[in-house]
């Protein structure tokens, strides 16, 4: 029987895919919905010179923060890295390259890359440093800047539930960049919290169809950290 898309662990799922100076996309917003097991396996592999495409850089010691600690990342393409002190240190010391993208531009670049669209025009960033060195075109009386689609050698994705075919469902705001990145990896590797058989997910509820997913691992009960715990007091009746 074929092994299909299921791998026993993160290291096995990444075997043969990692090399120095590669481009890796990693889903997540802050540390919500990050492919933590897969990132740890990238760290353990020791590959260096990574260009990492991810909205954020994790926090110190969590998510991509792990790869910053080990200096495996050469360049980040992100929209916001404010929560990572190590990032600021390495950047200001000239050890790390950063390409800031407006968050919507980053999302659309990944969506476009996955859809085979090499470039598109957007109003976001016109008149700012983001537009420097890029084509600006007037369309119907307004100015737009040209942005390029993005793809990666490997996309790392975290999903809530997946079947063995790779059909995926995400949970609440842990969805974020994960479905787009699944479409934009030459190889997409997914960690799922719940692994089920085909037919157990209602086809109408599938967010990412399995065609985008090449390798899957099961990570039951992952540790999920909260970056900003905010609560309200219960008022007793």
């Amino acid at each position: 029987m074929s092994q299909g898309k299921i791998y026993p662990n993160a290291a096995a799922a990444l075997s043969g895919l990692l090399k120095n100076d590669m481009t890796i996309m990693a889903g997540g917003f802050g540390i919500c919905g990050i492919p933590e097991s897969l990132i740890e396996a990238v760290s353990a592999s020791g590959v260096k010179g990574i260009t990492a495409i991810s909205n954020n850089a994790g926090i110190d010691g969590v998510g991509l923060g792990v790869l910053l600690e080990t200096r495996q990342i050469r360049k980040m393409i992100s929209s916001y890295v404010g929560e990572n002190k190590l990032f600021a240190q390495q950047y200001l010391a000239g050890e790390l390259e950063i390409e800031f993208n407006p968050q919507g531009t980053l999302a659309e670049r990944i969506r476009a890359g996955g859809a085979g669209i090499p470039a598109f025009f957007t109003k976001t960033g016109v008149g700012t440093s983001v537009a420097e060195g890029k084509e600006v075109r007037e369309i119907d009386g307004a100015r737009y800047v040209m942005e390029r689609g993005l793809v990666a050698d490997v996309a790392l994705v975290h999903a809530w539930k997946g079947d063995t075919e790779g059909n995926l469902v995400f949970r609440k705001t842990a969805r974020n960049f994960n479905p787009l990145m699944a479409t934009a990896g030459k190889v997409t590797v997914v960690e799922v919290e719940h692994l089920v058989e085909p037919g157990e997910i209602d086809p109408d509820h599938i967010v990412t169809p399995g065609i985008y997913v090449q390798r899957i691992i099961h990570v039951p009960d992952p540790t999920k950290r909260i970056e900003q715990r905010t609560v309200r007091k219960r008022v007793m009746a």
């Binding site: 540390i31 919507g104 999302a107 949970r171 969805r175 219960r234």
Partner: protein, 216 residues
């Protein structure tokens, strides 16, 4: 005495209309959600992929998978929907969001906005701010009038821009200004905060502006 942060948020809430879809930035803008008038239907969008954000959870009910764009734990409402970052910014960039209320470091009299970077000092990134100011129908800035006695309302921003000619209104602790961002009307002072004077505002504002008729 000028307006407190709470009073500034309450003033900004007057810009809300029934049926609006609204994005609130981090900081003082977040407080605006406490002043949505009873009976008014306003859906708050969080750009990490949620429409219809609810209040903070009760202690013990926090969910790591349910956060807002400030990475704070929040809750769902019956109207809530979740979507990807691409769909989220399609809403924002496609002009489907009615109002964006966000903070700023500097605003220029022509509506230019700077709120994401101090060269050589702050390397955080713009997040969704550039998309919001470029795509949302109406942009309201909510900020302190001055920073360490330096004016923030300027003839021209000297920090890198978040957007050019994007701001419609500025609410500070001293008053409210409107900006005719696409026309030649410039900046107009339309309201003075309680306990503030026209002279005080003039002394603390570097931008050129006109005073609305009858204001004192």
């Amino acid at each position: 005495m000028a307006w407190t942060r709470e009073e500034m948020a309450a003033r900004a809430a007057k810009e809300l209309r029934d049926g609006f879809y609204v994005n609130l930035g981090i900081g003082i803008p977040t407080l605006v959600s406490n002043y949505i008038p009873t009976g008014m239907a306003v859906q708050l969008q969080s750009e990490n992929g949620m429409l219809g954000t609810g209040p903070f959870p009760y202690e013990g009910e926090e969910d790591a998978d349910l956060i807002n764009a400030g990475k704070q734990t929040i809750t769902e409402l019956p109207t809530t929907s979740f979507f990807s970052s691409a769909d989220s910014f399609a809403m924002i960039r496609g002009g489907h969001i009615d109002l964006s209320i966000l903070g700023a470091m500097q605003v220029a009299e022509n509506g230019d906005l700077a709120n994401w970077m101090i060269p050589g000092k702050m390397v955080k990134g713009m997040g969704g701010a550039m998309d919001l100011v470029a795509g949302v129908k109406r942009v309201v800035v909510l900020m302190e009038h001055s920073a360490k006695n330096e004016p923030k309302l300027l003839p021209k921003c000297d920090l890198p821009l978040t957007g050019a000619q994007v701001v419609d209104m500025v609410i500070t602790d001293l008053g409210v200004f409107t900006i005719d961002k696409h026309g030649k009307g410039g900046m107009t002072l339309v309201e003075v905060a309680n306990g503030t004077t026209l002279d005080e505002i003039k002394a603390k504002t570097a931008a050129h502006y006109t005073v609305a008729p009858g204001l004192k």
